[in-house]
């Protein structure tokens, strides 16, 4: 009994389509699903279920070329090409296979097992087609079906167009993001290459500068020591050559350090070192300049001179501090170097009787290219790199540099270093 009733209801159901609920559910889809492929699939699903359609497809065109296809009910993939569809574009309304006379057009419908073609959008701005096969029960499409499609197609057109645009924007964004990432990578690589190149250039340039400077000071020292009779003028000129080459040595060195700090390639090897020979060598290095300016350099080393540091870097720091202390000193002034170790902190003190640093300039003393506004200072040659380099190297070694200064009285620099690893941090 029940089964008979059921089959009667089924029979009635085949011919009775609830257009309003189908339309409602499809419109609901059109409003809520933004992803193009999923939207196409769900439209086909709903139509197939609601109208009992065996097979169907939605074809989306871009510039009259098929850009995406969704199927339902086909046994395998069905290819659609733009040229197959080109004749359809000029058609403005729904096409039924029975209307088709031309064999090419009929063949297309037969090959794809289609009955109806519903254009989406006007011929001039067509987004694609809803292509429908026969119904599962073999019944024909009714005029109600056709009305339903005609009503639905404008909204489908709008929603599909939106979904396609959305996808295109996503794809564009993805490519854009990819391109930006790629370009950024390229830029970073070229920047690194440039930094390497700069570092290499500076290294070679300073090395090539250092060699002739070494030769100049070497030859002038030998002439000086030759004991050959020289006029006072000649001696004076020779001293000028020596002093110039000493200055160049320090400058070339400072430039190398600055370039390396810019490139981030300063190599500092911190280990236990003895500062005594380093300080003595630096004082010896500066002695011609001190003699020339009649400045007395006094060294009062403490009993222990071990510290954690890099002896080559400490030598450069000391040369910079000493050459400043001599260069900016008063005539017949003095420079006193003292060292001491208190509670695992090793301190080198360089005290001069020079011009001093105006208080307003104190915060700027260690900045790159700092030079005092004092005309007395300006009148003496300098690059403003020495103290910048001294601080950079001191800090690289884990040390600290500070100073006290009174204009007209002198300046004292303090270098603090750890003496053992456990007190380093």
């Amino acid at each position: 009994m029940n089964s008979i009733l059921q089959s009667i209801q089924n029979l009635l159901g085949h011919n009775q389509v609830d257009y309003s609920s189908l339309q409602k559910s499809i419109i609901n889809l059109l409003a809520s699903v933004a992803e193009i492929d999923r939207l196409m699939q769900l439209i086909l699903d709903n139509l197939a279920r609601g109208l009992k359609i065996k097979n169907s497809a939605i074809v989306v065109l871009k510039n009259s070329v098929v850009s995406r296809v969704e199927f339902i009910g086909y046994p395998a993939q069905v290819p659609f090409s733009g040229s197959e569809l080109s004749w359809l574009i000029s058609q403005s309304g729904i096409i039924h296979i029975d209307q088709l006379k031309n064999s090419v057009e009929r063949d297309f419908f037969l090959a794809k097992n289609l009955v109806l073609s519903i254009p989406l959008g006007p011929p001039a701005d067509r987004i694609g087609y809803l292509l429908l096969g026969p119904k599962t029960d073999g019944s024909v499409y009714t005029s109600s079906d056709l009305t339903f499609f005609a009503e639905l197609s404008p909204q489908m057109t709008i929603s599909l167009r939106n979904a396609v645009s959305r996808r295109e924007i996503q794809e564009f964004n993805a490519t854009l993001a990819g391109k930006v990432a790629e370009r950024t990578r390229e830029l970073e690589q070229s920047q690194q290459a440039q930094l390497r190149l700069k570092d290499e250039f500076v290294f070679i340039a300073t090395h090539d500068l250092a060699t002739p400077v070494t030769a100049i000071s070497g030859f002038s020292a030998m002439i000086n020591a030759s004991g050959e009779a020289m006029s006072e003028t000649l001696k004076q000129n020779l001293r000028a050559i020596s002093e110039a080459s000493e200055r160049l040595k320090v400058l070339v060195n400072d430039l190398l350090q600055v370039a390396r700090s810019d490139a981030g390639t300063i190599k500092v090897e911190v280990k236990k070192i003895n500062a005594l020979p380093v300080i003595e060598a630096a004082i010896k290095q500066c002695s011609p300049m001190a003699t020339d300016k009649n400045i007395q350099v006094i060294f009062n080393p403490g009993s222990s001179n071990d510290l954690l540091g890099d002896s080559a870097k400490l030598a450069e720091i000391m040369e910079n501090l000493l050459s400043n202390a001599i260069k900016y000193n008063k005539p017949s002034g003095s420079v006193v170097v003292t060292t001491q170790e208190i509670e695992k902190t090793y301190t080198i003190i360089v005290k001069d009787t020079g011009l001093g640093i105006p208080i307003v300039e104190h915060p700027k003393v260690f900045t790159k290219f700092y030079r005092s506004e004092d005309p007395e200072v300006r009148s003496r040659p300098g690059t403003g790199l020495g103290l910048f380099v001294a601080r950079m190297l001191t800090e690289k070694m884990g040390g600290r540099i500070s100073f006290e200064s009174k204009p007209g009285v002198g300046t004292t620099f303090f270098l603090n270093f750890s003496t053992s690893l456990d007190s380093a941090h």
Binding site: H207, A210, T211, P212, V213, T214, A215, S217, G218, F219, A221, M222, N224, A225, K249, N253, K267, E269, A281, Q285, D310, S311, A312, K313, E316
Partner: protein, 135 residues
């Protein structure tokens, strides 16, 4: 009988520096041989075993470090005293040279040419003493 001159091989690519060394050592009792790059220096060492080599680091063809390593792997050259004289000032440049077997590492700009001969003599005599101790 006067001491035979000490044989010194200078391997240095910069002619200015070579000239400076030669000028500084002109009056010393040294027999100087000059080679202008690492490869020709190494070639010279095949037939010429000096008492001391003064070796630059940055040179074309073969670097000073390469020459050092080759010398250390050669039985007849491994005990030759080598003073590396370079313009490289970093501690790790020095360490690399000493690790490769250099006897001394001197920074060119820090060596006073007026004291060059005396410093070389000092190294030669301490090398001789340590040589006597080991043989």
């Amino acid at each position: 009988m006067p001491n035979p001159p000490k044989r010194i091989l200078i391997i240095e690519d910069d002619e200015l520096i070579t000239q400076m060394y030669r000028a500084s050592l002109a009056t010393a009792n040294f027999e100087l041989r000059l080679e202008s790059d690492g490869a020709s220096g190494w070639a010279a060492l095949q037939t010429y075993v000096p008492d001391l080599v003064i070796l630059d680091i940055m040179m074309p063809k073969l670097s000073g470090i390469d020459v050092l390593k080759l010398m250390k792997s050669n039985p007849s050259l491994k005990d030759v005293t080598v003073i590396v004289m370079s313009s490289l000032m970093d501690d790790d440049d020095k360490k690399r040279a000493l690790d490769a077997g250099a006897t001394e590492y001197w920074i060119k700009r820090d060596v006073k040419m007026t004291e060059f001969e005396a410093r070389l003599m000092q190294v030669l005599s301490s090398a001789k003493n340590s040589g006597n101790l080991t043989t």
